[in-house]
Amino acid sequence: MKYHKNIPQKVIHRYLRHDKKFPHVWCPGCGNGTVLGDILRAIYHLGLTKDEIVMVSGIGCSSRMPVYVDFNTLHTTHGRAIAFATGIKFANPKLKTIVITGDGDATAIGGNHFIHACRRNIDITIIIINNNIYGMTGGQASPTTAPGKFATTAPYGAIESNFDICNLAIGAGASFVARTTAFHTTEARKLFEKAFMKKGCSVIDVITQCPVAYGKRNNLSTAVQMLKWQKEQTIPKAAYDKIPEEKRKGKVIRGILHEDDKNEFTAEYQKLIEKVQK
């Protein structure tokens, strides 16, 4: 299949559910739709069939994503998407299992499942839509809300340290770890393609804007301001490595941050089955 880069809407429409009533639940200016578009274009570009894709999510704004797309879709309980996905992938390793989750869903309530999926290196792709806030419940602090930033439950500014999702995933043992933003759509699409095809646990931290619940409390009250921040304050890994230490402050690295070929869980279990049955 050829990628129709000039008519991106048409690509997206192929994957939306015709029997699902729109509009979607997301606020104006939200980054979730952009990321969903990137995911769909990556799927189209790779030529994956709708039947082989399972999209699993937890609870939160971004976790509403699966309802709109024509795959095998599962919207689970808060924080447990990765554990459900583990069951699906392990039960039928042929299924391309994609988890859509938010920063709160994946790293707070679901933190245990997140690190263990990385440790197990099970072949699922975890896309963390990271807006540094609990959007759906109205703007409470999340584990990625940086110290000093404001939230409804951090009215004087957060005082806890925040997770670096990528470092967490690398430390826990994921095979593919990358970061991108809602602004860098082409880069996001390419990273998704790599992640979907990677054998092993792949984690992508996607920085997205939530002008409504995060931005307005933190001097970035419009989507444009927030996208501008994503454009100016993030920097590709290669460029980051070259700049001097003093210029790195406040910059966020993008791109592939880690990749290896360590043993993947479902394949290892298949080997175990063959060994036991011999």
Binding site: P66, T77, T86, I88, Q277
Partner: protein, 387 residues
């Protein structure tokens, strides 16, 4: 009401532990996926399955916790495998939210709870029947459950198979409640030839994918079930949903969903309820007991009869839905009812509820919650007191 089948199996006897019998029953029922987290006194189930499942090409995964265990077996069932987890009291508490998810999304799976003393960490190696109400009302929201309660090693085997059959047939999680003593006790049992087993599998859709509605209602309230990856693409959500599985807030659709969950149990009680009566034909003193307590009660009934006391036993194999009608009928003629249980009184209220309109009933409780069993002697003493 269906009665308990007598053991007419033909093979040679095997010495088996309750937890082992659960494993054997699960494998014979078609289990190919187990996700679990170790907890006493259910641990042997996970241990044995970790060895057995790869032999048949099945899947065993030791999850990071009970929340993940429950999630993994729901995921596996959605992908087409018969799946199970096994746990005990505290782990069962942790599974509740996802058990509710399986209820709401109508995903078949089996949850074994080998009960231990509680609350909290409680008595890990002592028996208790403290989770009866947790099995019934542990999750939030409002829905019925199916829970089975064996009293012997053979029944651990048979009711595990039955749990899978009911799960597949009614598209719902099924809970197997066990006593710690049963999990660890060994008995010599005769297993049935495999070709004599009645194994029920989920009903696949009989329409093309584009016509398929995941929750389509029908007179029996049970919808055909497609698996992920088979060309039937659909949405599953724990949000209240319509027949297609999409979230809804329409009043009539909400009501229809809630009624469906309720009615698929309520309208099939004949199929779901199993209950045993023992010397109840002319019993003046009736004992109501489940699981391991019912075994003590059987012995007590025999001893009482030898003394000329007309005693009998009613024992539910299906504890939820509670066998209202059968309990009422069986207890109709007896004057005194002793409810014996290893807790501070969970079953007695159910028995009182269903027999409240019967005249001249005297209720007696025999409750023990110190981690010890109720002995036949204790029950016999109570029978003699109240006769």
């Amino acid at each position: 009401m269906s009665t308990v089948k007598k053991n007419n199996y033909t093979k040679t006897p095997v010495l088996m532990q309750g937890n082992e019998a659960v494993v054997q029953g699960a494998l014979d029922a078609g289990l190919t996926f187990f996700g679990g987290y170790p907890i006493t006194p259910s641990t042997e189930i996970a241990e044995i399955l970790s060895a057995e499942l790869p032999k048949i090409g099945g899947r065993f995964i030791q999850m990071e916790d009970e929340l993940g265990s429950m999630a993994s077996i729901i995921g596996a069932s959605i992908a087409g495998r018969k799946s199970m987890t096994a746990t005990s009291g505290p782990g069962f508490s942790l599974m509740q939210e996802n058990i509710g998810f399986a209820m709401m999304t109508e995903v078949p799976c089996v949850v074994v709870n080998v009960q231990r003393g509680g609350p909290s960490t409680g008595l890990p190696t002592s028996p208790s029947q403290g989770d009866l109400m947790q099995a019934r009302w542990g999750t939030h929201g409002d829905h019925p459950v199916i829970a089975l309660y064996p009293d012997s090693i053979l029944e651990c085997y048979a009711l595990t198979i039955r749990a899978f059959n009911l799960a597949e047939k009614y598209r719902t999680p099924v809970i197997l409640l066990m006593d710690e003593v049963l999990g660890h006790m060994r008995e010599s049992i005769i297993l049935p030839p495999k070709d004599q087993l009645n194994i029920i599998n989920r009903i696949p859709p009989n329409v093309p994918p584009e016509w398929y509605r995941h929750y389509k209602n029908n007179p029996k309230y049970i919808s055909p079930l497609a698996n992920f990856g088979e060309g039937y693409r659909f949405h599953i959500t724990g949000l209240t949903h319509d027949e297609k599985g999409f979230p809804t807030q329409k009043l009539d659709e909400i009501q229809a969903k809630m009624d469906k969950l309720q009615n698929k149990i309520k309208d099939n009680l004949d199929d779901l309820i199993q209950i045993e009566d023992f010397y109840m034909e002319d019993a003046e003193v009736a004992i109501f007991a489940a699981g391991i307590v019912a075994r003590s009660a059987k012995e007590a009934v025999k001893q009482a009869r030898a003394k000329g006391i007309k005693a009998g036993l009613v024992r539910p194999l299906t504890i939820w839905p509670f066998p209202d009608h059968d309990v009422e009928t069986m207890l109709e003629t007896s004057k005194s009812i002793i409810v014996a249980e290893l807790n501070q009184g969970q079953m007695i209220n159910e028995v009182k509820r269903v027999t409240s309109h019967l005249p001249h009933k005297k209720f007696h409780k025999l409750q023990k919650y110190n981690g010890e069993l109720i002995t036949p002697e204790e029950i016999l003493k109570k029978i003699t007191e109240v006769k």
